[in-house]
Subunit: 471 residues, 2 copies
């Protein structure tokens, strides 16, 4: 049963399991105590810190363990901002950071700080120059992920770090998705990561703060982990995290090449096998194991259920899979199709070529089934031009109005596709929708179908999206 | 090798180990995901929440898991205070709460709130009336531990909870030390605990917030655990925590009686075997497994090392065992001797009668050895009256001055004991000391030796402690 959601959480690596079990007997005591059980726990903790620091590329005294990657980010962002509060109150982040970074930014804004989001291109990457342009004098901290968790695109961390360094702004790199594959290059100031992303156990995050970076931990004081992460350390899990990081790194080059080839296969074959698909994210500068695509006229949640029934565990950035009914902020920032979104993140040391072939075998039928169930336009094809035998334009139909209020993704886009044939070439159709996904998916549909997206305007209820038929 | 520091961290209970190992395969995925691995993880998490809530005595939807007891306290205190910020900004705590509560109180004070500490008696307990008297109209939250972590004294939680309820003030109970033995009685509003105190794994705390209690989680938003604890849940550890809590509860009555008898033996025998010892904490209303005593003229750190060499792992509230060189705030609040302090907390399901007998066998010799090394007055005895052949009082020696500046505990008290014989009965000796422990230990010495502690006054360097010889 192939598990294709390693970017959420990877199954426990055998080395992690072994190290966890071995350290349950030695690592349960308080490492701050002076008696033998405490000394043993301290030895394990120190050794794990050295191993993790070595993998991160920092000094052991620059690295602390936190209870999760999320908490590493929260502590890193708040501590760095507080440490530089005299410099300024501006936080710069990319628009496609993990929600833990964006939530930390919201908290900062709520406390009176300001936040600048740097836009990304259609592949999901920031431009170093654009990022650097936002680093004004009053910038206390900049954040940039090493690679995107939803679409796999690598960010130009080295270049952004250089720009930050030259302006004296510390850069925090969220390396959650990439640390398994290698250290983060470039002159970063703070780095965060999460062990369960690399096959380590749950319950362990990393926060590295380079010497010389001003840092003022927030929240109640606590003497553990240099005052940067409150609470009793989970040493068996920390030992397992460090041991498994070392293990995955030892095999990273070979495993990365193997998974990269499998992802290349998915990237190439999915658009051939499934009509009206957009594969998103950078095809080259990307994580080895992540590929994301969106299927026009498809309900993401239904497709996920069908894939689950067929034995494939994937995730989605579609609005229908989110409790807020808003498409993923990453897809929105990239301006790409969000409906029928599927993220496949292959599990290192687990996913086989056969798993991928099986996936490619079942996907077309499942997508077709979902489309049929939702009444999507039949026999859609990415390259087939619209019929030229369209009605003549008439004064009365200057803009056809399509009311999809109350209908959720993918219905508004399906209805649009159904009526476009009735719109005279050169004339417009106005789609009324109160579904947040429409804002992303109607323009994306226009791009994929060769029609013109004119724009949106307010309406009595919902939003009016105007589309001009070009062909 | 007897481990006598279960109040810090208990060794992993066999049920915890078994549950942890069994759930590593099922509990690693994201419980928020809809695919099978996620559903399995969610089932485990839900079952653990039900079991833990049952043991706590609350509804499952009132309980969240946190990464530690410390974080449960920090989140509980900050969330409850913020939820009632319109009522007032006063936080009431007992003077002997765990440092996690006191640090949360300091953070609250730093943010502009006010904190009232309720004093304790010589056994370390608050008086319900005194506690209730501090609950004014502007009180947002009150905190009281179920039992003290250093001396084992149980607090009158039921009575204080009643007072809080009648005044509409929510009470947060830190139940870290007592939850293994039974649910907290009384009508509390919030409750916190820590799994590694009951033989569960590290990395799991509990925070229960009763329905109807106003609560506004602080820090960056996070969708997990009802928004009350940020970060990916450590489900295998949570499963192990819940399973082991259920297991220890099933044996709590028998094990509690067994350990209570062993502690009674220590409480009775130590003062018989070791001269000049003060056993502290309530002899009856106490945890079954904790006993604490202090030894006059003894350096706590040296005694801990000697006990460790003899195979006994204990902890201490003496100043010399703290990085700040300040005696434990609990001993200070109780006003009892802090030098040579030893906390013995027996390990449930582990400590045997023979362990205790061996401890009682080696302790007298080790204490005597430390006293000898530090030049303590020879052949001290708690009941031996001072020699009556003391020098006659003279005008010139109105107050002998003993300069112990720069000397650390237990030296100032040892020096005092050495010179007291030279002080005429009825006259005073002034001890100059810059050691924080002297503030506690000089009055305590006076109490134990039948001399009068007159008081302290400022001095050019350090503090001048005035003692009158009575006999």
């Amino acid at each position: 049963m192939p598990y294709f959601d390693a970017a959420s959480a990877a199954p426990l690596h055998p080395v992690a399991r072994q190290a966890l079990q071995a350290s349950l007997d030695e690592g349960w005591a308080d490492p701050a105590r002076l008696y033998r059980e405490g000394r043993r726990a301290r030895l394990l903790l120190d050794a794990a810190r050295e191993a993790a620091a070595d993998a991160v590329g920092c000094r052991p005294d620059e690295l602390v363990f936190t209870p999760s990657g999320t908490q590493a980010i929260h502590a890193g962002v708040s501590g760095a901002l507080a440490g530089r509060r005299r410099v300024g109150r501006r936080l710069v982040v990319s628009a496609v950071e993990h929600s833990a970074v964006l939530h930390a930014a919201e908290a900062w804004e709520a406390a009176g700080g300001s936040v600048t989001e740097v836009a990304v291109d259609r592949h999901g990457a920031v431009a170093p120059d654009a990022y650097a342009a936002e680093l004004g004098k009053a910038t206390a901290l900049a954040c940039l992920q090493s690679a995107n968790h939803e679409v796999g695109t690598e960010q130009p961390v080295r270049e952004v770090a250089e720009a930050c360094r030259s302006l004296g702004v510390p850069l925090l790199v969220d390396a959650a998705q990439s640390l398994a594959w290698g250290p983060v290059e470039g002159d970063w100031s703070l780095l965060t990561a999460s062990a369960h992303k690399w096959g380590g156990p749950s319950g362990v995050g990393l926060l590295a703060v380079r010497k010389g970076v001003r840092f003022a931990p927030q929240g109640p004081a606590d003497e553990r982990e240099s005052g940067r992460s409150a609470g009793f350390q989970n040493i068996p899990a920390i030992v397992a995290a460090a041991a498994s990081l070392r293990a995955v790194r030892a095999q990273a080059a070979a495993e990365s090449a193997r998974l990269r080839a499998l992802v290349d296969r998915i990237r190439a074959r999915v658009p051939e096998l499934v009509p009206d698909v957009e594969v998103v994210g950078d095809p080259v500068r990307r994580l080895p194991h992540v590929v994301t695509f969106s299927c026009l006229y498809v309900d993401g949640e239904t497709l996920l259920h069908e894939l689950d029934r067929a034995g494939f565990s994937v995730s989605s950035g579609s609005s229908c899979t989110s409790s807020t009914l808003i498409p993923s902020h990453v897809l929105r920032a990239m301006g790409v199709l969000s409906e029928g979104n599927v993220r496949v993140s292959l599990a290192p040391f687990d996913t086989s070529e056969e798993d991928v072939d099986r996936f490619l075998g079942v996907l077309p039928g499942l997508v077709a089934g979902v489309r049929e169930r939702f009444g999507a336009p039949a026999s859609v094809s990415a390259s087939r031009p619209e019929s030229s035998a369209s009605p003549e334009p008439s004064e009365a139909s200057e803009s056809l109005v399509l009311d999809t209020l109350g209908r959720r993704c993918p219905i508004p886009v399906i209805e649009l596709a159904k009526v476009i044939g009735e719109v005279p070439v050169g004339r417009t159709v106005t789609v009324l929708s109160d579904d947040e996904a429409a804002r992303l998916d109607i323009p994306a549909w226009c791009g994929m179908r060769g029609q013109e997206y004119v724009g949106e305007r307010g309406a009595e209820a919902g939003v009016a999206y105007v589309v001009r038929r070009l062909r």
